[in-house]
Symmetry: C2
Subunit: 353 residues, 2 copies
């Protein structure tokens, strides 16, 4: 395992991001943990093993299971196996598994130890780093949760080999977001220059891309670990649009990363209409989004506007009633702003095109 990064978080905590050469390297590291351990999988991630380690829970996969019932299953297993406060919860899977294992671990005896092994690209570059834990509640995505960073995040791009194409591209949505959010042009260039290798999931190329991507996320998180200063919320670029799209479609019609890519494009277009975003920057971003074939030309139907608009109001980033959007001035220059509803409508509905 190679130590790629150390992310400094609230209260003196930190997450180490370690990258494995291959599955064998990962297994070796995982088997080195002493003490009492609970493994949390879903059926998909469990299938990466020929025989599962002892003391495991295998949950049903999917966003629909991201609720308290699954947390109860994890916690009950922890009780059954006699886990103590210094025992380790290992979340092995995508974002749903990592978010839920982290929440369960944060609650068990008011905080047990936590290691995450993200097995989807989306989770590697997003959910596993930064300490956000969550379940869905009352039809709102990630409404309930805590801040509880994993002490180690273990990345092994071998686990991406069997990932469905659709999910791999979903992860790329968050990677392009990071490419747009940083002042540094490295990730943008890397993605423009290595399109073929990235799409072929070349091990070394993808590992490098993941490291560059996490490094951007870490920049924002370290400045504002618990999202109190408005800095961390810049990572929500595209997400207010994305969550509304996902909520109004019951979380399933668009994959998360694709919805985010769509949302970023909408935020940029909205910024241009509002006269706050540089047009050249919008074009530059759209170029990368199109290169990776994100459907930025999608618009919602007129009839879906009400449910889309209502879903915006449920967004948990809302503070005292006002929904603020992340907009961009130019490369690496995000800011928070309320928006004009008629302009907002213009960039999301077919009718206005």
């Amino acid at each position: 395992m190679e130590k790629a990064l150390e992310v400094k978080l609230q209260d003196g905590k930190k997450s180490e991001v370690l990258v494995a050469n291959d599955i064998k390297d990962l297994s070796h590291h995982l088997s080195s943990y002493g003490g009492n351990v609970l493994w949390v999988f879903d059926r998909n991630s469990a299938s990466l093993f020929t025989s599962l380690p002892d003391q495991n829970v295998v949950l049903e996969p999917g966003e629909i299971h991201k609720g308290w019932r699954s947390i109860e299953i994890i916690l009950s297993a922890a009780v059954e196996y006699g886990l103590a406060r210094d025992s380790i919860f290992i979340g092995f899977g995508g974002g749903v598994i990592c978010d839920m294992t982290a929440l369960a671990s944060s609650l068990y005896m008011r905080g047990a130890r936590l290691v995450l092994v993200p097995t989807t690209l989306l989770c590697m570059v997003d959910a596993s780093v930064g300490g956000k834990t969550a379940i869905d509640f009352s039809n709102a995505k990630n409404l309930i949760g805590s801040f509880y960073p994993a002490e180690e995040v273990l990345i092994c791009t071998d686990t991406l080999r069997t990932l469905p194409e659709n999910e791999y591209r979903s992860g790329l949505g968050e990677v392009v977001k990071h490419a747009f959010l940083t002042k540094n042009d490295d990730l943008y260039k890397f993605m423009m220059d290595n399109h073929e290798k990235i799409m072929a999931r070349d091990r070394a190329t993808v590992s490098e891309m993941v490291k560059l991507s996490i490094a951007v996320k870490a920049e924002f998180i370290e400045k504002d670990p618990t999202e109190k200063k408005g800095i961390r919320s810049f990572l929500n670029l595209g997400h207010t649009f994305a969550h509304a799209l996902e909520s109004s479609g019951n979380f399933s019609s668009f994959s998360h990363g694709k919805a985010v890519a769509w949302g970023i494009s909408r935020a940029l277009e909205l910024g241009v209409l509002m006269g706050v975003t540089e047009e050249s920057y919008q074009k530059k971003c759209d170029e990368l989004l199109r290169k990776y074939k994100f459907d930025i030309d999608y618009r919602i139907g007129r009839g879906d506007w009400i449910s889309f608009y209502q879903a915006l109001g449920k967004d948990k980033k809302k503070l005292s009633g006002e929904v603020k959007f992340v907009l961009m001035k130019g490369q690496g220059e995000p800011f928070l702003s309320p928006v004009d509803i008629s302009l907002l409508k213009k960039v999301v509905i077919t009718y206005y095109r």
Copy 2:
């Protein structure tokens, strides 16, 4: 309202403890909160109001309701009233209400604002200060929770007037614990000297006792807010015994503070048998415990030993299998230690007397 104390906690957070002269003073302060607020009561604490404030939840009282179902009720109300991340959850009641309101607040949008108004003596001197939140799980008390300090803890001893005698004396159990734990003899002397006024719930006397008691708790919490260093766990003096007694009796046969007082007396007796506790100190403590008529002569039946012993193993303070007890050398000198089972049996079972 008089600012009595400021308790410094993890991550730069602090809790202010404010003491009200009377109910009117308290109401005035509470009505000053701007923004969106959710009040959480149980039927008992709600009965202190002739008409309840808007946006309230009234839960069923009692430890049996200290579970996820109640948290869901609170969170659903928060969603219904459109609370945002900067909205305030006000927990108004005893330990169960304060612990649960704090947990719900810590989870809502990964952390909303929190104010606690403890209405029992036990909650004033214990649960409301220090940031522990909890629900019971899988038959184990407070197994699930987080650390999430209230920004304000509002004490109004007028709310104690209608408290049943049994519950008032339960709170005194934690107060004597604080009197024994600190080097400073003020609280011990105050309790010896003011027995009558304290039992008559004289407003000024009780306010002073509560302030002295919270100050002791704050000493320990500030040194170790999230119980990582073993210092905060000294506040568990008597609690390993107490929790086992409560668990094996389904939480109901002994009130919490009485169980704690019993547990303290057992811990002191055990320490004397082990040769680590000064006998003169044990006598001094027992004198105060007897003055307040705590049943320190109670012993469990032989037939209850197995369930008592098993409940000890479920204690959440357990680290990697070994249960450590808080023992005392002398006044203000707690330490953690494993204990000999045969000596332990000797101090809790009738048979051995």
